[in-house]
């Protein structure tokens, strides 16, 4: 009996629960192929375990911003976050922006398209997530606010100028 209880307890402990784009996710922690290892980053789990490959990994070292997701509404780097430490958090990725019913893109996504705010597009999901966090916080940012909010997102194709215009166009009172 005692061991049964202990076993059950350890089972409960070996789960991590959080939500991704509004859907509850419950993952086992362990070393089996289907499980999340303690050393897995959130970026790895999103892409490899959950199949959400919209989040991109470029430097995998905190320096480029392409893996940016929202955690409880704040822009964070999923490559520098351990999945096992996401217990109870609410994660939003680029896949969570479009309307799930109609498939209609978020205005920010549409604005990036309208302003051709990318070339290869690898940095774009991270750019959009950082901009999303900014606009939720400050719907009418100045250009300086946008530059500051996106200062952690690096674009190898130098889309920064167009990105700035795309974000300003979406912002209230923009353009």
């Amino acid at each position: 009996m005692a061991t049964a209880i202990k076993k059950k307890k350890s089972l409960v402990k070996n789960l991590v629960r959080f939500s991704v784009n509004g859907t509850a996710v419950e993952l086992e922690i362990g070393t089996l192929p289907h499980q999340v290892e303690t050393a897995h980053t959130l970026a790895h789990t999103l892409r490899e375990t959950l199949g959400l490959v919209g989040t991109k990994v470029t430097c995998d070292n905190g320096a480029c911003g392409s893996c940016t997701v929202l955690m409880d509404g704040k822009a964070v780097l999923s490559c520098m976050t351990l999945t096992v430490e996401c217990q109870g958090r609410s994660i939003t990725t680029i896949e969570g922006l479009a309307d799930p019913e109609t498939g209609r893109l978020d205005p920010l996504q549409q604005s990036f398209i309208d302003h051709t705010a990318f070339q290869c597009g690898f940095c774009t999901p991270g750019m959009i997530m950082s901009a999303k966090a900014l606009l939720a916080d400050n719907p009418s940012p100045t250009e300086a606010d946008v530059k500051e909010a996106l200062s952690g997102n690096f674009c190898r194709c130098i889309s920064h100028y167009q990105v700035l215009r795309a974000v300003m166009a979406t912002a209230q009172g923009g353009e």
């Binding site: 070393t31 290892e37 303690t38 050393a39 897995h40 980053t41 995998d60 070292n61 905190g62 320096a63 911003g65 940016t68 704040k74 822009a75 964070v76 780097l77 490559c79 520098m80 976050t81 351990l82 096992v84 430490e85 950082s130 250009e143 300086a144 530059k147 500051e148 909010a149 200062s151 952690g152 997102n153 690096f154 920064h160 100028y161 700035l164 215009r165």
Partner: protein, 344 residues
């Protein structure tokens, strides 16, 4: 990343007990923005056996005033420090220093204690395993310092002895300006360490079973002018080549108190005592500011490739004293000056 045992500490006592149990083979994880680099690149000779998550330790996230002292909890995030109205108003140099760290995403999770306890950025020390590291050197207790004969562009010009890696923390510079102290908890109880004394030639003063619980700053009485200037090669997401924090009190046009802290020039934070002394009782003008710069860097002993830092430090200090505004991170994107893009 290679596997490790993951421990969730919910109290300071639990974290200390776990540190003691692993006897130097476990690492605390606060924001994780520095620790992940260590785990991913495996640049230390020994990979940690365990990671102790302290994010969920309750009651370590606060900025408050108590009996005239300002107290900041170890887990307070840099984004909260940068935007705190209290700090902006009275400890502006600290708010500016926090704002100057890395990127918005990193500041959203990075903690003040993690910023102070982060490991150095020396390119030999951090050389990743997946491209042939780790590399042994004096800091790892094995061999000489490789930077002395090698690439030392980002290394110390002051106070280097065994290891010439500089203290990478921006907030440490501001905290040293305010004579800040760290409240450290360990198996044997609590003790205080001044930020200025925290960094040692090969690391910091923390014992294997100790962690930083709180950062404490004395009250700022007189109305002071504070600045934090950071010179980097690219504006955002970059470590300081040199940083300078100043606190100046001027009464009737004469400087009554001057404090100057220099960052990224030494293994710890340097307070420029001679320059501070010189400025007291003088008016601050281009001549006295330039003289203060000379005095602050008088003891500099550059390595083969980093004498350029001396001039940068002098210039930053001069600008700070004369009240020039520091460069903003967003100025990295010189949007208005790009000849190819027309904006309204």
């Amino acid at each position: 990343m290679k596997p490790f045992i993951h421990i969730n500490a919910l109290t300071v006592a639990e974290a200390v007990a776990a540190l003691a149990a692993y006897d130097g083979r476990a690492r605390l994880n606060a924001g994780g923005t520095d620790l992940m680099g260590l785990l991913k690149d495996e640049f230390l000779p020994e990979y940690p056996q365990a990671v102790i998550n302290i994010k969920n330790v309750a009651g370590l996230d606060y900025i408050r005033e108590e009996q005239g002292m300002l107290q900041i909890g170890a887990l307070t995030r840099l984004s909260d420090i940068a935007s705190s109205p209290l700090l902006r108003e009275r400890y502006g140099a600290l708010a500016e220093a926090a704002q100057a760290v890395a990127s918005p995403q990193i500041r959203n999770v990075a903690t003040l204690a993690g910023n102070l306890c982060q490991d150095v950025r020396c390119c030999y020390y951090r050389y990743p395993r997946h491209i042939g590291g780790p590399i042994s050197c004096a800091r790892k207790g094995n061999g000489p310092c490789l930077a002395v004969k090698g690439d030392n562009r980002n290394h110390a010009i002051l106070e280097g002895r065994k290891c010439f890696a500089v203290c990478p923390s921006d907030t440490a510079v501001a905290l040293a300006l305010f004579d800040g102290q760290l409240l450290v908890a360990g198996s044997a109880g609590e003790r205080r360490i001044a930020v200025r004394d925290f960094y040692t030639p090969l690391g910091n003063q923390l014992g294997k079973d100790e962690l930083v619980r709180e950062i404490e700053l004395p009250a700022i009485t007189a109305s002071t002018r504070q600045t934090f200037h950071k010179f980097t090669l690219r504006k955002p997401i970059d470590f300081a080549v040199v940083s300078v924090a100043t606190l100046i009190t001027v009464v009737d046009g004469v400087c009554s108190d001057a404090r100057i802290a220099l960052g990224a020039v030494a293994p710890g934070v340097v307070r420029a005592a001679a320059a501070e002394e010189f400025l007291r009782g003088r008016t601050i003008d281009p001549a006295s500011a330039a003289r203060a710069g000379e005095l602050a860097l008088a003891g500099a002993r550059p390595l083969s490739k980093n004498a350029y830092k001396i001039e940068i430090a002098k210039t930053l200090l001069k600008r700070a004293l004369l009240g020039h505004p520091p460069a903003k991170p967003s100025q990295g994107i010189v949007h208005d000056k790009c000849p190819h893009v027309k904006t309204k």
